[in-house]
């Protein structure tokens, strides 16, 4: 295991695209949360009565413990950015034909997939650390009380990590099957940004909400809309909170199936 991590580190440490995309992600996560914070601030920090009423009604979603949920929700919209690097990691191996060379040099086919599993794990870990830092800084800077329930909703740290890993695993699967970088990126981004949201939306209205079983939506629903937005439709919000446990199980099953499929395919196919 240590040898696999070391080898993957050798591959990624001088890969400029990896650092660029991590840099973009490091800017986008605080950025998107700051934008929403500013919207909230503008809405609630006006001298008008309406503004004061809004503040009372929705509270401050950027203080502890709600901040863990709020930041997880907004940050999860941007998993497609690190997905680019995951797709590049796997398609690079096909472009350079190193998926063959790694086996020739002495890895088993299973070890090759494990090495990519480690890549996805490393990227997910970095993204989660970033989310954690943004949540912590946002929460601390919005501290309103001396005594606060800092870790009250910290379960969202794990849920965000699982969601990120699951969605990056889907990105990996696309790269693994398609093999061509630009084609894989095109397919994944189209699916992530256009196809699944439309299908999920349509099924919500016309299909008894069956869209909740779409691959990305399964894990999306582990971080439902934060409480302040949930107050728009409190029944739906409570329902979404109740469904989290079910979606945790579904996410774990789906992610396990993705990796088992990759191991199986790689064990059988010719490495051309």
């Amino acid at each position: 295991m240590t040898a696999l991590v070391r080898t993957e580190w050798l591959k990624m440490r001088k890969y400029n695209a990896f650092w660029w995309i991590m840099g973009i992600t490091a800017l986008s996560y605080p950025g998107i949360n700051y934008i929403f914070y500013m919207v909230y601030d503008n809405l609630t920090n006006q001298p008008s009565r309406a503004s004061q009423f809004a503040k009372m009604a929705i509270g401050n979603p950027f203080t502890f413990p709600e901040v863990w949920h709020t930041v997880a929700y907004f940050s999860s919209w941007f998993v497609f950015i690190p997905a680019v690097v995951v797709i590049m990691f796997v398609t690079n191996e096909y472009t350079f034909k190193t998926h063959r060379q790694n086996i020739i040099d002495g890895w088993s086919r299973g070890q090759f997939v494990s090495s990519k599993f480690i890549d996805v794990l490393i990227v997910s870990f970095i993204i989660t650390i970033l989310y954690f830092a943004v949540s912590l800084v946002t929460g601390v800077s919005n501290q309103e009380r001396l005594i606060q329930n800092t870790w009250g909703q910290s379960k969202y740290i794990l849920l965000f990590a699982l969601q990120t890993f699951s969605q990056l695993s889907i990105a990996f699967l696309v790269g693994f099957l398609v093999r061509k970088a630009f084609l894989a990126l095109g397919i994944f981004l189209f699916y992530y940004i256009v196809f699944e949201p439309i299908v999920t939306g349509v099924l919500k209205v016309y299909g008894n909400d069956m869209g909740r079983f779409m691959p990305l939506e399964i894990s999306d629903r582990m971080t439902p809309v934060p409480g302040f937005l949930g107050k728009i439709d409190i029944v739906a919000y409570n329902k979404s909170l109740a469904a989290i446990d079910q979606h945790i199980i579904l996410t774990i099953i789906l992610t396990a199936c993705i990796w088992l499929l990759c191991y199986r395919i790689n064990a059988k196919r010719d490495l051309k």
């Binding site: 040898a3 050798l10 350079f96 020739i104 040099d105 002495g106 088993s108 010719d270």
Partner: protein
């Protein structure tokens, strides 16, 4: 002498195309085993199967008596398959660090040593993508040499190299052979194979046409080359020795072809002398591998 690799009845198809058809051969320890064949004859497919990147439809192979290839076994084999496969954004040194991390062959110092051996040391920190085709090939050879493995599998090792580079690789293979390494190499450069290989297998459209030691394969018949002052008289006498004779006008020589193992140079000399011909040249010629290859692979 033990057997390093034994292939038994290997079959491989790509859809309707049969790439390998009942291929069997064995590679003796310490040999330089050349796999020859025209383009598309199945050489690379065969090497791909024995290195576990391709799956045979049928048949089996044994490395050192063990069925198939385990990762631990492959780590002991230095390989260059088809094209140099490296991470384009990494330098030669960084790429070899990855080879070393995966295979466990060699040390940090060995990386420098193999880069010096293939004359890439000065450019060791340049990105792989900036290399010429010949330099890429040299790096692939360096990777296969890392840790001085006892067995090497080389697919067209002189691809993209200039004449000096080709000669260097030839000398390197000879040096490794003398040190007792076993080398399995696919090539279509017959002259190269003839110079360095001890054994060959000739493939044609996925079938093994022949396999064995180079001497056995090339010496399928005895070729004796004769020369004398009166070449016309020599030709007439030679016709009495063999039904098949060739007259080379340029070289002013006559070649007589005899069944394998039947040529006796002293008897030929005596026969010519008794018939009034004094030979100025009498030599047993080895058939060129190229000629033998065309004989075997042409329909």
């Amino acid at each position: 002498m033990g057997t390093v690799l034994l292939a038994k009845n290997l079959f491989k198809s790509y859809g309707f195309v049969r790439a390998l058809n009942d291929v069997s051969f064995d590679v003796p320890e310490g040999s330089v085993f050349g796999i020859l064949g025209p383009n598309g004859s199945g050489k690379t497919t065969l090497l791909g199967i024995i290195m576990d990147v391709l799956r045979a439809n049928k048949g089996e192979f044994f490395w050192f008596g063990q069925s198939g290839t385990s990762p631990s076994l492959r780590r002991k084999i230095g390989s260059l398959l088809e094209t140099p496969n490296f991470y384009s954004y990494l330098s030669a040194t960084d790429n070899l660090r990855i080879t070393q991390a995966i295979s466990g062959r060699g040390t940090k110092n060995d990386i420098d040593e193999v880069l010096k051996k293939v004359k890439l040391f000065e450019r060791r920190w340049s990105a792989f993508k900036s290399y010429s085709l010949g330099m890429k090939q040299r790096l692939a050879i360096a990777a296969s040499l890392l840790g001085d493995p006892k067995v090497l599998v080389l697919d067209e090792p002189t691809n993209g190299l200039d004449p000096v580079g080709i000669a260097e690789i030839r000398n390197l293979i000879v040096e490794l052979r003398e040190k007792g390494h076993t080398i399995i190499m696919a090539s279509h450069l017959l002259d190269e194979v003839e110079k360095v290989c001890t054994h060959v297998a000739i493939l044609k459209t996925g079938n093994i046409i022949t396999t064995g030691s180079v001497d056995e394969i090339m010496m399928d018949e005895d070729v004796v080359e004769l020369s004398a002052a009166n070449i016309d008289a020599l030709s007439a006498v030679a016709k009495q020795l063999s039904k098949t004779i060739f007259f080379d006008e340029k070289a002013n020589t006559v070649q007589i072809i005899l069944p394998k193992g039947t040529a006796r140079l002293d008897e030929i000399n005596r026969f010519c002398f008794n018939n009034g011909i004094v030979l100025s040249q009498l030599v047993m010629r080895k058939k060129k591998l190229e000629a033998r290859f065309f004989e075997l692979t042409n329909d």
